[in-house]
């Protein structure tokens, strides 16, 4: 009886936030999904900004065009840019954050001061960071003449945001193949891991998943997901894929801003490890480096995962930093967020803009949802 009343009370207390969330988050997500399946802004007979514009349902056409139409190459470049940006931004933040955290863990004098200094960039908005770094990276600007003024070396000639160099080139149509190989490789590693721990059942699942992926690839199902380009030869010449060197400056700025935050997460993790464990390891003859390698780092795995999720979703949604540093019109540094803005508010192609926004949402959901799911499952297991 009592528990029913508790439940009702809980539900009533939660109701306002459920209603607000439902309206302002999920209703508008639904709105964006339905917009992305219309021809709003594509049909030149219907003025897109009219109050009574007729929007016809076109299904997945906008998504199909983004994946295959010649003139939609900026979207594909933006996806590649997001991939590399996320990769190097997350790796850079984790490395910098870990190094800073380990340094501060050595019991330096004035640790609180340094912690504040390293954390400080996070208090700036990305727009401020972007503007500062844009000035520093200008030709003849701060960072470029630093080697010259400090050491008398040649100034850096690299064209940070305007470079047209492409590293690690690959073809857009090869991506499904790479994803397949990568997926199988990861599953193989997991299988080996499970087998070594003697969990045969789990290993069988992993092998099964790998076989399914291989079959999907072999059956040509990828062509339905990763639509073939209309003109593959043109694509390679007008929008070559690879790591755009123009992103390096933006990655540096982003790492500068967020590595202090990652450091704070690591410090919290390290402080959570009890001193007795370290003592015990030392008593057993473990070296200081060994303590970090075998005691501290393994226990930081959950922190690393959380940091990856938080940094990853920031980088998938990045907009302001790129806008401030490279401008919205820089074709080499374009990211999906910028495209949503340009397609929507410059070209009035609102449906296409909504489609890109949905793809961004999906990509963020791909990392957030499994994480939340495993967290919630872990919690209920703890309780049960």
């Amino acid at each position: 009886m009592r528990s029913t009343r508790d439940r009702i009370t809980a539900f009533v207390m939660l109701l306002p936030s459920i209603v607000l969330l439902g309206l302002f988050v999920y209703f508008f997500i639904g709105q964006a999904i339905s917009t992305s399946m219309t021809d709003w802004g594509n049909n030149s007979a219907q003025p897109p900004l009219s109050a009574n514009v007729v929007k016809s349902y076109v299904g997945l056409e906008n998504y199909e065009r983004l994946m295959s139409a010649v003139l939609e190459f900026p979207f594909r470049v933006s996806m590649v840019n997001t991939f590399f940006f996320t990769l190097f931004f997350v790796a850079g933040c984790l490395a910098m954050g870990l190094v800073l955290a380990l340094l501060l863990d050595q019991g330096v004098a004035g640790e609180g001061f340094f912690r504040t200094v390293f954390l400080f960039p996070m208090s700036l908005s990305f727009v401020v960071t972007g503007t500062i770094w844009r000035w520093m990276l200008q030709p003849g600007g701060g960072l470029n003449i630093l080697p010259q003024s400090l050491l008398g070396l040649e100034p850096i000639e690299f064209r940070w945001m305007s470079s047209r160099e492409i590293w690690l080139p690959f073809l857009w149509e090869d991506v499904p193949r790479y994803i397949t190989y990568l997926g199988i490789a990861i599953l193989a590693l997991i299988t080996v891991n499970f087998l070594s721990k003697g969990r045969r059942r789990a290993a069988q699942y992993a092998i099964g998943a790998a076989i399914i992926i291989a079959l999907v690839f072999a059956a040509g199902l990828w062509d339905r997901i990763w639509l073939p380009l209309e003109q593959p030869e043109t694509e390679a010449s007008i929008a070559p894929k690879g790591f755009n060197a123009a992103l390096i400056g933006i990655i540096i700025a982003a790492v500068w801003q967020m590595s202090g935050y990652t450091m704070a997460m690591f410090i919290a993790g390290i402080r959570g490890i009890s001193e007795e464990l370290r003592e015990a390891a030392r008593v057993d003859g473990c070296t200081e480096i060994g303590v970090y390698r075998y005691i501290i780092l393994p226990q930081l795995n959950p922190i690393i995962l959380s940091a990856m999720i938080i940094l990853g979703h920031i980088s998938l949604k990045i907009f302001d930093l790129v806008f401030a540093m490279a401008g919205p019109d820089n074709a080499r540094t374009v990211v999906p967020g910028i495209l949503v803005y340009i397609k929507g508010f410059r070209e009035n192609a609102f449906a296409k803009s909504a489609a890109i926004a949905m793809i961004m949402l999906l990509s963020v959901a791909l990392i957030i949802v499994p994480y939340l799911w495993s967290q919630l499952r872990g919690q209920s297991r703890d309780r049960g």
């Binding site: 003025p47 109050a51 047209r164 929008a239 074709a331 508010f345």
Partner: protein, 424 residues
């Protein structure tokens, strides 16, 4: 008693008539929100207009809502969210031409203000080409404040003399002197961030195609993927090789690009004549003495124009105040207050003659060109093509920059023409 009632009735009537007459010349009250992208160097000109409005209608509180960003790139995005959200300003700045008609008029978001033009007798004072860009189905939708010229080439008189080069009058001449200038360690032609490259492109296209060829792109008579267009892109590619495109272009604002000319790092710059205002007012240089100007190569006698205008959006909260504002904008006094400060010429053809002393040598010569030259609309500044074309033209430009192929660019432009419906 009856007499008394009759008397009261007459009194009431008189009072009513009196108050009605009062209402006629009653001072305007309330607010007037003016939305524009005139901030920074261009701010004082707008402020002067607002001050003038304040003197005429002291009870109206003018709200000067500006969103910075060259050519209105950011302002337009903010404006769209406001219009779509049902919160239009009382009046907003919009480029005359397709940006007004192709975006807002076709969407039924603008009020017909033909009555202002009729009452003020403005049909005779604005050139017909300009009026054509404001009219849809015989109704006029905005009041042009100023005229800017897009196809102007800027240089420093002393520098050009020192390097011993003549100011090129055709693109062929420019390409001839290009190596000479480069050998002197100077950038022959400086460009800046993306839109300034589009700006250069329209001058090149006008130079190669001529005014009739340019206009025939937008009427559908010239194939945007055809041989003429390929030639435009080829010439454009040769010209880009004489610029700082591969060095630092994308990081430069148009002012910084102009600075490169002033400092002697670059020889020429193609920019709209808002650069004259920057050179004269901000940098304190004399036209003809310190800095020189010429029509961009191959476009002598052609005036590629763009015009800032203001209209009355549907659902504006204070339409009476807006109408008064529009009347001021189109008046001789309004145009002669605004334009000398902005560094542009009045859209009215009679304004400069009324008070020539207000305008410097550059503006006087441009005003003369405005009434004599062949007029064509600008692409990069919203006159010639709709916003969809302008947006997708950036993709065409990127295709050209990435592949260097004039054919690929021309065929992409053909596709964009069809998609956007901008070419005829």
């Amino acid at each position: 008693m009856k007499q008394r009632i009759a008397f009261l009735c007459i009194l009431a009537l008189l009072l009513a008539v009196g108050s009605f007459a009062n209402a006629q010349d009653e001072e305007l009250t309330g607010e007037l929100e003016i939305f524009s992208w005139w901030a920074g160097d261009e701010g004082p000109a707008l402020e002067a207009l607002i001050d003038l409005y304040g003197e005429m209608h002291p009870d109206v509180e003018v709200i000067n809502a500006t969103v910075t960003g060259g050519s209105g790139v950011n302002a337009r995005a903010v404006l769209k969210t406001r219009m779509l959200g049902g919160d239009p300003p009382d009046s907003f700045q919009v480029h005359a031409g397709e940006e007004l008609t192709g975006t807002w008029v076709v969407a039924d978001r603008m009020e017909d203000i033909t009555f202002i033009f009729e009452e003020e007798g403005w049909y005779d004072v604005f050139p017909q080409d300009l009026l054509d860009a404001l009219v849809v189905d015989g109704a006029i939708y905005s009041v042009p404040v100023n005229i800017h010229r897009s196809n102007v080439m800027w240089y420093m008189v002393d520098n050009v003399e020192e390097w011993g080069i003549d100011v090129p009058t055709t693109w062929a001449e420019f390409l001839d002197v290009c190596p000479t200038i480069q050998e002197a360690g100077v950038v022959p032609l400086v460009v800046g961030e993306a839109w300034t490259v589009n700006h250069l492109w329209e001058s090149v296209a006008l130079g190669v195609l001529g005014p009739e060829g340019w206009n025939s792109i937008w009427t559908g008579e010239l194939d945007p993927a055809g041989a003429e267009m390929v030639e435009v892109w080829e010439t454009f590619g040769d010209i880009l090789a004489c610029t700082n495109m591969d060095v630092d272009a994308s990081g430069l604002s148009w002012q910084q690009a102009t600075d490169a000319v002033i400092e002697g790092d670059a020889a020429f710059n193609i920019m709209g004549d808002w650069a004259a205002g920057y050179l004269t007012t901000t940098q304190g240089l004399e036209p003809d003495v310190d800095y020189g100007y010429a029509a961009s190569p191959g476009t002598d006698g052609v005036f590629m124009w763009l015009s800032d205008s203001f209209g009355l959006p549907v659902g504006a909260p204070h339409p009476d105040n807006t109408v008064a504002w529009l009347r001021l904008l189109g008046s001789l006094e309004g145009q002669n207050t605004f334009n000398p400060l902005k560094g542009s010429i009045p859209a009215r053809t009679d304004a400069v003659d009324a008070e020539p002393d207000l305008y410097n040598a550059y503006l006087q010569s441009t005003a003369a060109d405005w009434s004599e030259d062949v007029l064509v609309g600008s692409l990069a500044h919203g006159t010639a093509a709709n916003e969809r074309f302008m947006g997708e033209f950036n993709q065409v430009m990127e295709i050209f920059l990435a592949s260097g192929s004039a054919e690929a660019a021309a065929s992409a432009m053909g596709a964009v023409c069809i998609q956007s419906g901008a070419c005829g």
